[in-house]
Symmetry: C2
Subunit: 342 residues, 2 copies
């Protein structure tokens, strides 16, 4: 039976598609495909040492690699995870993505990377695609609210990194206590006697940005800092937006410091200062948030809050493993660190 099937559907040497399948290995090793599968996965049911060796030799000789599509179809598990990133150009996010990839590849898993650009519609397109690819889990690096998210979180393990969504309180989250960190940073500024300050915060629609703003305002009030009525501005989380917002603020010659919702915004502020001939940090201090790994090299003028991106990624992967093992969703806050460079 099996033989006749083989005879008519297989070429003598190898499959016509060019790819070598488990069948080819079985034939060469002189065993059944079931044995090949068992030998290679050494999972359910054991094989004799002789078979094990024959199969290994045949697989080696044919340069066989199991077809993941077949495996995924049968076992309902692609070893594939997805990352939806808001903006891979932000080096801080890229560093997290890189760490995720590193950790996952150590577990024989691969990472599909998507970019949402903080846009709900784009994010939903990514989610659509992900849902059809039967991924094992999805990481969000700065998620935004979008209709498709509900369906996804219902069916797949999801971990939010760095930003959670109020609309998804039951979803795992790994980040820092943004409000406390912002408060601590503002207090540290107050201790340096930076009295006249401005704030350029991220979109209030972002939970993270909102918390950071709350913390800043809270601590500023406590410290009795001076914030002019129009010295609190909302920006998008980009350099351009920081640049735009900084313009009017810099007219105030008494300004001591600008506190920014993240480092990208701070970069924009910096450039505006350069153009205006304002010396940083001598005339004006700039505070950011995240601590982009490049700061150490390129932004010695930047004070910021270090979000531990390596640990963030590690913890996110651990939590993902918990979820795929049917563990409970958790909210995990990691320690942050104030970085005062100038």
């Amino acid at each position: 039976m099996g033989a006749s099937r083989d005879d008519k559907s297989r070429n003598p040497r190898q499959s016509e598609s060019g790819a070598v399948s488990i069948r080819d290995v079985a034939k060469r090793a002189g065993v059944s495909i079931a044995s090949v599968s068992r030998a290679l996965n050494s999972g359910s049911g054991s094989v004799s040492k002789a078979t094990q060796e024959k199969v290994a030799a045949a697989a080696q000789a044919l340069n066989y690699r199991p077809n993941q599509a077949g495996r995924a179809l049968r076992s309902q598990s692609t070893n594939t995870f997805a990352l939806i990133n808001s903006n891979i150009q932000n080096n801080f996010y890229a560093a997290i993505a890189w760490e995720l990839e590193r950790l996952l590849s150590a577990e024989k898993s691969a990472l599909l990377v998507y970019t949402s650009n903080e846009d709900a519609e784009t994010q939903d397109r990514c989610i659509e695609d992900i849902r059809s690819r039967q991924v094992s889990g999805v990481f969000f690096l700065c998620a935004v609210d979008s209709p498709g998210l509900t369906t996804l979180t219902k069916n797949d393990p999801v971990v939010f990194i760095n930003r959670r969504l109020q609309s998804c309180p039951e979803i795992s989250f790994v980040g820092i206590d943004d409000e406390a960190a912002a408060r601590a940073q503002m207090r540290s500024g107050a201790r340096r006697d930076l009295r006249n300050i401005a704030i350029i915060h991220g979109p209030e629609s972002s939970d993270t940005s909102a918390r950071r703003l709350r913390g800043m305002l809270d601590a500023a009030r406590d410290a009795g800092a001076n914030i002019a009525p129009n010295a609190i501005k909302e920006a998008r989380l980009s350099m351009e937006s920081g640049y735009d917002c900084a313009g009017p603020l810099l007219d105030d010659k008494n300004l001591d410091a600008i506190f920014c919702g993240n480092d990208q915004i701070a970069y924009g502020v910096y450039r505006r200062c350069l153009e205006r001939g304002i010396a940083v940090p001598d005339q004006l201090r700039i505070y950011g948030f995240d601590d982009n790994p490049m700061n150490e090299w390129l932004a010695p003028w930047l004070n910021t809050v270090r979000v531990p991106h390596v640990e963030l990624a590690r913890t996110a992967v651990e939590q993902m493993q918990t979820l795929t093992g049917n563990g409970a969703a958790r909210e995990i806050l990691l320690p942050y660190e104030l970085i005062q460079r100038a």
Copy 2:
């Protein structure tokens, strides 16, 4: 037959696995799975308008997404590409990755991202994984020589971006004329009368770095520039390595400029200058290569060569499409631009 099969293997409402399959759609629409497939793909063989609508409605109602594993298994084509990046933390590379993702997602394809860290063994592990995932094509962003590469290039469409390999002359390449660009940059430095110069080039094992070095030396000789015997150093393509190499060079107080193999190296040099109290660009000019998109914001002191990363990605995707359509491998050089900031 079909009915009895359905009766015993399907729940009345939906598949027990939670995922809705083409069968569920077919049942709800009251047509065969073949018709559903045809209606949704509108490919081989047409369907009547009535069926089309019934299927669309059912798919919509059940929130159906075709299972890519099944599709891939049958049609031997995952709409998935892989990118092996040498170092995603380099913003210049991240920008290319981002652009690739953007272009591919517009074609309903996804991108698996790997990081090789310029390490042959790591790259081979990535290639192993890729080979088992039946990807439609592989992009390399700065490939290194490795044993697995030969097998891969034999079986899958491959496009090299930014760096080619002498060992793979038949593989498509998209980049710039590095030697000419380096020559032009060095000449532009000579015209500014930067006579005493040093060079920190990338690894000579990298074709790109070697070409850049050749161009620099060539133009420096023509211009009669002064290069002290120990003022040509080989670095890895990292900020740390640039920092290390810069140390000894900066002892020469007459130095006018340092030309670096890429921007990362230049960042390391910059930091060393800061620490030594050397004013950039007043006392020393720094030249890099690539033009990291963040330079505009953070490195106004950096002269560099802009490699058109958006066009690079676009051209790479186009060439990949050519390859998958059985077109010929090509070597494509795009125009570069000298950026003189300081």
